[in-house]
């Protein structure tokens, strides 16, 4: 009986092994990015991410046009085919279920308004205008932003603002980030971290 459970328990692993005959090693990603690439703290969520965006980021790390010592080293060890396989694997993992942020309601309401309506009098479009209806991501240039850890999102916006990240298409995120106040960054990062909400 115990043996049956053991074998059943191993089935997903066996299936995974069959799917990925080459050398992708998801568990090494999960050390930092969490089980199923769910993301935590400053490590972004990989699960459900747009595969074309995923590959482009790895290419940019490899080329040095996106900077992060750990990821630049990881990307240098990867072939194009590896990148595509990791992207395909993580993109198929489901989006996170909505989970409430512990931030206060007024801050989350401000974040929700920025995500859905933007702040056009300041020239800030809604996040969801370009990242999809629920921020689920659209294409290589417009990734999934919902379900990302608040610390990750806030850090990226700060990086665009300072210029230390500059691999955005036609400078769009630089333009938007420059206009966001610290309070707005905190609000929108907290709201987006809650995952897909309708």
């Amino acid at each position: 009986m115990k043996l049956i459970f053991l074998v059943l328990g191993m089935l997903p692993l066996l299936a995974q092994a069959a799917d990925t005959s080459t050398k992708i090693n998801v568990s090494s990603c999960e050390v930092c990015h969490g089980k199923n690439g769910v993301g935590k703290n400053e490590f972004p969520r990989l699960g459900g991410q747009e595969p074309a965006y995923f590959v482009k980021q790895l290419q940019d790390f490899r080329a040095g046009t996106r900077s992060n010592p750990m990821m630049q080293s990881v990307a240098k060890s990867m072939s194009e085919a590896d990148m595509a396989q990791y992207a395909a694997y993580f993109s198929k993992l489901p989006l996170p279920a909505a989970k409430a942020s512990t931030e206060d309601a007024a801050l989350l309401a401000e974040g929700e308004s920025l995500a859905k309506n933007g702040d056009w009098p300041k020239g800030i479009p809604a996040c969801f205008q370009c990242h999809g209806e629920n921020g689920q991501g659209i294409s290589r240039d417009f990734p999934q932003i919902t379900g990302q850890p608040a610390r990750y999102t806030a850090a990226q916006i700060a990086n665009w603002k300072s210029g230390s990240r500059s691999n955005d298409a036609i400078g769009l995120m630089k333009t938007v980030s420059d206009k966001l106040t610290d309070g707005q960054i905190k609000a929108v990062s907290a709201y987006l971290s809650q995952g897909v909400t309708k």
Binding site: N117, W120, G123, Q129, G132, E133, A169, I170, L172, T175
Partner: protein, 279 residues
């Protein structure tokens, strides 16, 4: 001394004449009553026309694709700019039209669909939304920021090939390499600029001068004002040199419709890349 005072007066009166852009009421101030319900429905139709006014729409667009920030934004033909200017005589229809009739025109041309009849819930909701948004605005006035900005004629004649380069560098990431837009889960996340899912040849934005003004003021989204006037004219020329749904007014052929409706600022009826536009 007198001259100094005079100059001071001129300067201050010029300053006083500097008109502020109208600010529509905040969304949270929509009243919580039956009228407010109509306003909210109007906003829903405006931002998700595909869903809330589906039966009147014949393409892939929503009103808010061109009227940004849910119809609130100055220089992207805001609802508050339009509402206070009707009824008005329009050269397009050669008669005095009410605001409701103006909205019907949007459905016929920009949405390439069928105009909802007066008294339908959809049309009443849209009028209610525009009326509420214009709270406090003076009627029969051209407000600052109404319509799309007018650009001066460019130095060089607008050019398709230069426009194509501007398009590839700035527009393609959202609108696609063939102007087809980008769809996610069957809905357009970025609107199509030409082709059968876009506005038809009767919509105002197909005019190159109008499109150039819109582009200069608002495109790429969040980066309005960054293209030069010349680039805006060139890219508008490129975009409006592609085919789109037929002009519903062209009852007796393209040549007649070109003469009647498309004499200026427009490529309708011309041969571009071996194809007669409007066919």
């Amino acid at each position: 001394m007198k001259i100094a005072i005079l100059l001071f007066l001129v300067a201050t009166s010029a300053f006083a004449a500097e008109e502020k852009t109208f600010t529509p009421p905040a969304e949270r101030d929509i009243p919580k009553n039956e009228f407010g319900d109509a306003v909210r429905l109007g906003k829903s139709i405006f931002t998700d026309t595909q869903h809330f006014a589906k039966k009147y729409v014949g393409n892939g667009l929503n009103c808010s694709n061109c009227h940004l920030d849910s119809g609130r934004m100055a220089d992207s033909a805001p609802l508050w700019g339009a509402y206070v200017r009707y009824p008005a005589y329009r050269a397009k229809t050669k008669q005095v039209n009410t605001f409701e009739e103006r909205l019907q025109g949007c459905f016929e041309y920009s949405m390439n669909g069928t105009a909802p009849k007066s008294g339908t819930p959809e049309l009443t909701a849209l009028v209610s939304y525009a009326y509420w948004m214009s709270t406090g605005a003076p009627v029969n006035t051209k407000l600052k920021g109404a319509g799309f900005p007018k650009l001066n004629k460019p130095e060089l004649a607008p050019d398709y090939a230069r426009g194509q380069k501007v398009f590839t560098a700035n527009c393609q990431i959202c609108h696609g390499s063939n102007g087809e837009g980008i769809k996610v889960a069957g809905k357009f996340a970025f609107p199509p600029l030409w082709g059968k899912e876009s506005f038809n040849w009767g919509a105002g934005l197909h005019r190159i001068d109008t499109a150039a003004g819109f582009i200069k003021g608002n495109m790429p989204l969040a980066k309005g004002g960054t293209l030069t006037d010349q680039e805006s004219w060139d890219v508008a020329t490129f975009v409006m040199s592609h085919d789109r749904p037929a002009d519903p007014r062209a009852k007796t052929g393209i040549a007649a419709a070109k003469k009647d409706f498309h004499e200026e600022n427009c490529k309708y009826g011309e041969t571009v890349e071996g194809h007669v536009l409007g066919e």
